[in-house]
């Protein structure tokens, strides 16, 4: 099918999935122990009674379930994700305020992990069987097995506390009022550690996939054909092996999106990065379920969007998909 058709089908599926998540959210609120109004008001019932009564009326909590459902879903469709009593802001505004920081962090981590993962994966594959290969794969295994938040803490310990090279938390140096280039530099300084720690785990994932994919593709018949033509090794590696080997890596990148968002929660918490992951943590401690579920919905939307993008990219790279399979 055509590209447009593909995008449309995926968009339709995405809409349905998001709707289902909204439904899921609804049921989760009602699954929480206690009075749903108190749950929605947050603060473990410390919110004032007037507000709780207002909520009860607004969401029809005295009314049958299906009416509540209708009101809740209707609200979401009008982009009303509720109100955070704790933060005294509509949830949607709260999220939109923090979203850019998370996007900056996750996209940087993603790009870095993909790049380093592929580079090291290629290096390992080129030296297969030698000790350098074992060293690289060993390192990958180590990063893969380490808890993300612990790496983050150790990184803070080493680079901020001991060596004092990089800032330990935050998005920017507060109160410094940098502008222009100095501001960019300051932001970058703050970005390095969080992006690196978030990216290391995924770098390991891409590294291993790249390595095994390259090794597999190198054994395939068409590589032998390329050699039989007298092509130089370099060209064979680039044009024949690499292109084919990277296809599964693209698919993998799509699948990892969900994990990346989850990892962001941990990273942002440790580094006090003002993104939606941190927001999720804060709303957790404050029992602010409205915000919690709002962040959940938005993060799911991000993952779905990312998946659509990787799907499209894959279609563009692999001519077999665009034509709808074998002729």
């Amino acid at each position: 099918m055509t590209l447009l058709a593909a995008i449309l089908t995926r968009a339709a599926k995405a809409a349905i999935t998001l709707l289902l998540i909204v439904v899921l959210n609804f049921f989760l609120i009602h699954a929480a122990p206690g009075d749903p109004a108190a749950v929605m008001a947050g603060e473990n019932g410390a919110a004032d009674q007037i507000y709780i009564d207002q909520l009860r009326e607004r969401f029809g909590l005295d009314q049958p379930l299906y009416v509540q459902f209708y009101k809740y879903v209707g609200g979401v469709l009008q982009l009303d994700l509720g109100y955070s009593y704790r933060q005294q802001m509509p949830v949607l505004d709260l999220i939109l305020d923090r979203l850019p920081a998370t996007l900056l962090l996750t996209l940087t981590a993603f790009g870095m992990s993909l790049l380093l993962g592929i580079v090291f994966g290629l290096a390992a594959a080129a030296r297969v069987g030698r000790w350098s290969d074992s060293a690289i794969t060993g390192m990958a295994l180590l990063f893969y097995a380490t808890p993300l938040y612990w790496v983050a803490l150790m990184a803070v310990l080493l680079f901020s506390v001991q060596l004092n090279w990089l800032p330990a938390f935050g998005y920017e140096t507060v109160g410094a009022g940098y502008t222009g280039f100095a501001m960019v530099l300051d932001r970058l300084e703050h970005l390095v550690l969080p992006a690196l720690t978030l990216g290391l785990f995924f770098m390991a994932v891409y590294l291993r996939m790249t390595r095994s994919s390259v090794l597999e593709v190198s054994q395939m018949d068409f590589v032998k054909t390329a050699r039989a033509k007298g092509l130089a090794e370099g060209i064979i590696r680039r044009r024949h092996i690499l292109r084919n080997a990277l296809l599964p890596v693209v698919t993998l990148a799509g699948l990892q999106a969900g994990q990346l968002v989850g990892g962001a929660v941990l990273t942002e918490t440790v580094f006090a990065w003002p993104g939606i992951g941190r927001l999720m943590f804060d709303s957790l401690t404050a029992r602010d379920y409205n915000t919690l579920l709002g962040v959940f919905l938005v993060s799911a939307a991000m993952v779905i969007l990312f998946n659509i993008v990787t799907d499209i990219v894959y279609r563009l790279i692999d001519p077999r998909i665009a034509a709808g399979g074998a002729a």
């Binding site: 609120i29 380490t146 808890p147 612990w150 803490l153 968002v261 919690l292 993952v303």
Partner: protein
């Protein structure tokens, strides 16, 4: 069987992993013997460094609790949560994937949409939401981890079953007059066991990481001392008592690493044709 063990033993990484895991399991099993007192008990003054006092080989934490005791009891939690949640995830994923792969058609469609839905939701976020809503408790945590872990198993089993169901020995079983279910469970699934076992070992590792992450964020069972909790609790004092964050992390790292190494060893041992050197 002997063949399999020999092949496994040839992989030094896997042997190392096995060794580490055995140590962890032994520590967990003998925890009540080694440290009979509850790890929550305050035994000495806080922030004692390791080796500073008798019976406190790893010192004390922010509230004067025995770090070594916490570590050993934490091993129990990690292993139990890891094993049980994986078992539950397998219980959900294997039959679902098997039926989807075998019957195809709308059974497959339905199962796949269902699985896809769960796979698009960011798993850690879902786990957080589930545990938060259901109140943190060992059962809710285990359940939440199982719920986010089953989709990859279902996909794997489905793929394996689909490839096996086209094999001629399955046709032969049909010609022998065997019923569909007998073919699926008697002929197909036993041949799909190898990748499932490998995946299971990796799932235990992931479950342990998930549990510790949840505990770190404060979503652990408040009555259970777990490694993630220890790291989370020590976060504020990282400048002064860095070892309190460091040590439990090493424990997690070693356990997860061990499981990964074992998983790879199992993979090589069960699929001898796919040798690692890329031959």
């Amino acid at each position: 069987m002997m063949d399999f063990m020999k092949r496994f033993a040839r992989n030094r990484g896997a042997l190392l992993g096995l060794l580490i895991l055995i140590v962890v399991v032994l520590l967990a099993v003998f925890a009540p013997l080694l440290f009979p007192q509850s790890p929550w008990k305050m035994v000495q003054r806080p922030f004692l460094p390791p080796f500073a006092a008798d019976g406190l080989p790893l010192g004390t934490d922010t509230l004067g609790r025995n770090v070594a005791a916490g570590l050993v009891h934490g091993a129990r939690v990690s292993l139990i949560v890891g094993l049980v949640s994986t078992a539950v995830a397998l219980l959900i994923g294997v039959p679902l994937g098997a039926l989807a792969g075998f019957y195809g058609g709308w059974v497959d469609e339905g199962a796949m949409r269902f699985t896809e839905f769960f796979q698009t939701i960011p798993s850690f976020a879902l786990a957080i939401v589930l545990v938060a809503i259901l109140e943190p408790h060992l059962t809710s945590i285990t359940l939440a981890i199982a719920i986010v872990s089953w989709p990859p198993v279902a996909r794997l089993v489905r793929a394996e079953v689909m490839s096996l169901r086209g094999r001629e020995f399955v046709d032969a079983a049909r010609l022998a007059g065997l019923s569909n279910l007998r073919i699926l469970f008697g002929h197909i699934l036993p041949n799909a066991m190898s990748p499932i076992i490998v995946m299971a070992s990796l799932m235990v590792a992931t479950a342990i990481l998930l549990e510790s992450s949840l505990s770190f964020l404060g979503l652990g069972d408040p009555n259970i001392m777990s490694w993630g909790y220890m790291i989370g609790a020590a976060r504020t004092v990282i400048r002064t008592a860095w070892w309190l964050s460091f040590i439990p992390g090493v424990a997690i790292l070693l356990t997860v690493l061990a499981l990964n190494l074992i998983g790879e060893g199992l993979n090589d041992a069960l699929n001898p044709r796919l040798a690692r050197k890329g031959r």
